[in-house]
């Protein structure tokens, strides 16, 4: 619901918001320029002094105004022609033209009314209203994404346009909220919907009839500081019944031109003050630094519009599958999708099922209606997880409806969870669905399975299991996006592990060359650091396999560690590469597994090919940040990957400590055992703020997590706690 409230106003108002944002950003410069260019009154200068100086320079002066920026303008008549100039308060002389800047005026009219007067004002006000809704709903979505308002400033995970959208929105939302809210107030004020009109005293019924009082004799003007002045207006020449009109920060009034007595006064109303403050906040006139900040924030609007559109298009991309009616389908596919990517997987599944002769009904989980599934043989649920295990948008209400059923549907159930292992609550929602189904005694077709980071392999594997259960050949090949690949040339390979039946190689590829144009347009391979991923597309397959990078762009090469998997298509092809051979690959950033730029100690834990990114961190550690590497292998004589490099890096100070564990040989032990042996030192490091990064197989990661749980428990810490703080990250496969 909130997502729809975010999506539709965003798409509808995008163009208006672009105009508002860009013109607003451009306009924000003017108040600052005016503040810098306008001669300012010295502290303590009185209005009487200022008026006296101006009257000396321009004897026919009629009116003097002071803008919130401190700019003082005088208006006078010269031979019957009205004149105006910006005044230097020190001399009373004009120093610049008082006519409004044509560019500023043009931008102002574009910004507030698209040059369409009231109709345009209403369009722009609608745009501001849309922005208000977008900022509020967007803030709510960010809070939900990061697991609550308390985590507003927590580091963000995820990737692609959605990540950028959220990052920009987090920085900009408060400013945009302020701009939009004040814009609506100002529109209401313009259309006289607010009682914020300037308080004006009644014109005095009688005056002294005299004229020519010395301004310095009028207390009010003699003591009034220039900084409190709004405007001072002389009586109409030759009209004895007229008066001086004085407007200040606190109100306005009339003074007798013969005696100088205050004839009438009206204080500014609270409404007027609120409106003036809001005007200042919106325009930056009188608050130019804030104005510049809001202008800068407004520049986020094009970025937000672009990434927002990209997120929406990505979510739409896979649509278009026609499903059978619920009452006739044999297979019911229910989708719990937040951004729409899980929906894409569901449609790949549905197409594959239809291709093997099934009739399939695809629906969001929120449309769960078991009584209408009359011919259903099975129900498949594909559920994403949002933030801290919250139900995704299209699954709202599913669990309540399931819990309310007197008896579970007869058709057996398979649940597939989608998530990101970088998140604490990986597939937590799918787990809840499976748990509630179990509690209802819903027959299980397949046990709960998960897909990490839209992994096509995970999905493919689940498809095979499903096909087996159904007795059909089910091949699910779903590539969420087909990225542009670059051709990488192998320049070096180092082989390990043949003796321990684990052939492994460190493969080094030349950095693909990108033309300047490709670099500028982001079409090249892109910049990367250790911990990012490359997707290698093996020949004869469309689904990429991902490998962690052990090098950064600045190293000048692309390095990965590959172990030959029995029957593995991609690893098989990579393992036979010789220098000069090429593969097609693309880059995928993995910001959740970067070493980062800070100086806190790093505890790197890896086994087997998991050493790759960890070695990359050490290689890049020119600043000698304390890094402690725990590395598990089979036998030091055979698969000690990066053995010589690590010794050199240790000598260079890039690696503080290296602790190895070999599972074969004289004294077999695992990396978990090495951790336990170092329990005291690890506890000390973690208490001093160290970060833990784990890379390797899933079982190893689980073992490491359990070992660290035991080690840290006496100190009142746990892996779960550290993960929540972003101090414990894993990259597993």
């Amino acid at each position: 619901m909130i997502r729809a409230l975010h999506r539709w106003p965003g798409l509808l108002a995008a163009v208006v918001l672009l105009v508002l944002g860009l013109s607003g950003a451009a306009l924000s410069v003017f108040p600052a320029a005016e503040r810098l260019s306008a001669p300012q009154a010295e502290a303590g200068q009185s209005v009487a002094d200022l008026v006296g100086k101006i009257a000396g320079a321009y004897p026919t002066v009629e009116q003097i105004r002071r803008a919130p920026s401190g700019k003082i303008t005088a208006y006078w008549f010269e031979g019957g022609t009205p004149k105006a100039a910006v005044i230097d308060p020190a001399t009373g002389q004009g120093v610049a033209s008082a006519d409004p800047n044509a560019v500023e005026r043009w931008l102002t009219n574009l910004h507030r009314s698209l040059f369409l007067d009231d109709a345009g004002r209403l369009v722009m006000a609608a745009g501001a209203g849309a922005m208000l809704i977008l900022a509020l709903s967007g803030a709510w979505l960010i809070a939900r994404r990061s697991g609550g308002w308390r985590h507003w400033f927590a580091p963000m995970r995820g990737r692609g346009p959605a990540r950028w959208h959220a990052e920009m929105a987090r920085a900009a939302s408060v400013g945009l909220l302020l701009s939009a809210g004040t814009a609506l107030w100002m529109t209401a004020s313009t259309f006289d919907l607010l009682p914020d009109g300037e308080a004006q005293p009644d014109f005095p019924a009688s005056v002294s009839g005299g004229s020519g009082v010395a301004l310095t004799d009028i207390d009010m003007i003699g003591t009034l500081a220039v900084t409190d002045l709004r405007s001072f207006t002389y009586p109409y020449p030759g009209d004895a019944s007229d008066v001086f009109t004085l407007k200040t920060e606190s109100g306005s009034g009339y003074l007798d031109q013969g005696t100088g007595t205050l004839l009438a006064w009206a204080d500014a109303t609270p409404w007027q003050r609120v409106s003036e403050t809001i005007y200042m906040l919106h325009t930056g006139q009188g608050a130019s630094v804030l104005g510049l900040a809001l202008g800068l924030i407004a520049l986020a609007i094009p970025g937000l519009a672009g990434t927002g559109l990209a997120v929406w298009l990505a979510g739409r991309g896979a649509r278009g599958f026609r499903s059978s009616p619920a009452a006739q389908a044999e297979t019911i596919v229910l989708v719990g999708s937040e951004g729409g990517s899980t929906r894409g997987f569901a449609e790949t599944l549905a197409r594959a099922l239809v291709a093997s002769g099934q009739s399939v009904h695809v629906a969001p989980m929120s449309a769960f209606a078991p009584q209408s599934y009359r011919r259903a043989q099975r129900i498949l649920i594909l559920a994403a997880t949002y933030g801290d295990g919250v139900a995704p948008a299209s699954a709202k209400g599913f669990l309540d409806r399931l819990a309310a059923l007197p008896v579970a549907p007869k058709a057996p159930l398979a649940v597939l969870g989608f998530g990101d292992r970088g998140f604490l609550a990986f597939c937590a929602y799918a787990e809840r669905v499976a748990a509630v189904a179990k509690a209802k005694d819903w027959q299980e077709l397949l046990p709960l399975a998960t897909v990490d980071r839209q992994s096509p392999q995970d999905f493919h594997r689940w498809g095979l299991a499903l096909g087996k259960a159904l007795g059909i050949d089910l091949v699910l090949s779903h590539s969420p996006r087909t990225p542009r690949t670059a051709s990488l040339e192998l320049i070096e390979r180092r082989d390990y592990g043949a003796k321990v039946q684990a052939p492994t190689a460190i493969l080094r590829f030349a950095l693909p060359r990108a033309s300047l144009w490709q670099r500028l347009t982001g079409q090249g391979f892109g910049r990367f650091v250790a911990g990012d991923l490359i997707g290698v597309v093996p020949e004869g397959a469309s689904v990429p396999r991902f490998y962690s990078l052990a090098s950064a762009t600045r190293d000048g090469f692309v390095e990965i560690v590959v172990r030959k998997q029995p029957g593995g298509l991609c690893s098989g092809q990579l393992m036979v590469l010789q220098p000069g051979d090429r593969v097609r690959a693309f880059l995928r950033r993995n910001p959740g597994f970067h070493a980062g730029r800070d100086r806190v100690p790093l505890i790197l834990i890896g086994a087997g090919t998991g050493i790759g990114p960890l070695a990359g961190f050490v290689r890049a550690n020119a600043r000698r940040r304390p890094m402690h590497l725990f590395f598990g292998m089979r036998h030091a004589a055979s698969d000690f990957l990066y053995g010589e490099d690590l010794a050199r890096w240790q000598a260079e100070g890039r690696l503080a400590r290296l602790i190895t564990a070999a599972s074969r040989g004289a004294r077999p032990h695992y990396v978990q055992d090495a951790l336990r042996a170092e329990a005291a030192e690890l506890t000390r490091l973690i208490q001093s703020g160290a970060r833990i990064m784990v890379c390797g197989g899933r079982e190893m990661a689980a073992g490491v997590s359990a070992a660290l749980g035991d080690i840290l428990a006496p100190a009142g810490l746990s892996p779960v706690l550290l993960k929540a703080e972003g101090r414990y990250v894993e990259d597993t496969y």
């Binding site: 022609t81 005026r105 109409y236």
Partner: protein, 156 residues
């Protein structure tokens, strides 16, 4: 005569549709290129003694800005009843405002003066931008304004 006139003015704002003692008068206001947004103009009439008699036209729809038409505002106290039904859009720089009203014959050659107060956003207010006596002889004679109005003419 004056009291009768004033009484009529209150109810009809100086216009007398379909009355024998009225005739159509065209008021043409040509703005010059003063380099600003649309101008607010108040067209009103004062008598021999300079006292406000009634309004002929208000160009500009937002009453919150009327205080910048300072002479008119002071004379009327910003009373919107004075311009009820005779309000139009503001007039852009270089544009022309042409209005035709049925004005009483009695307004001419009797010491009445037509005033125009002008005001432009972020620019100086110009009360009495135009002040022209209403006479038969003056009809068709263009009068220049002080700042925003290039010429003003009334034709009978």
């Amino acid at each position: 005569m004056k009291s009768v006139f004033a009484a009529l003015a209150l109810t009809t704002a100086l216009t007398f549709p379909a009355l024998a003692l009225a005739r159509p008068v065209t008021l043409t206001t040509q703005m010059n290129n003063y380099g600003g947004d649309g101008a607010y103009l108040a067209l009103y009439v004062t008598d021999k003694g300079g006292a406000y008699v009634g309004s002929l036209w208000m160009a500009g729809g937002k009453s919150k800005y009327y205080k910048h038409l300072s002479e008119w505002y002071r004379a009327t106290g910003g009373d919107l009843a004075q311009i009820n039904g005779i309000t139009g859009a503001s007039v852009g720089a270089g544009r022309q405002l042409e209005i035709t009203l049925d004005l009483a014959d009695a307004l001419f050659d009797a010491g009445y003066t037509l005033h125009i107060d002008a005001s432009v956003e972020d620019m100086r207010d110009s009360p009495n931008e135009v002040a022209v006596p209403l006479t038969s002889a003056g009809a068709g004679q263009p009068v220049a304004g002080r700042r925003y109005i290039a010429s003003f003419t009334y034709d009978m």
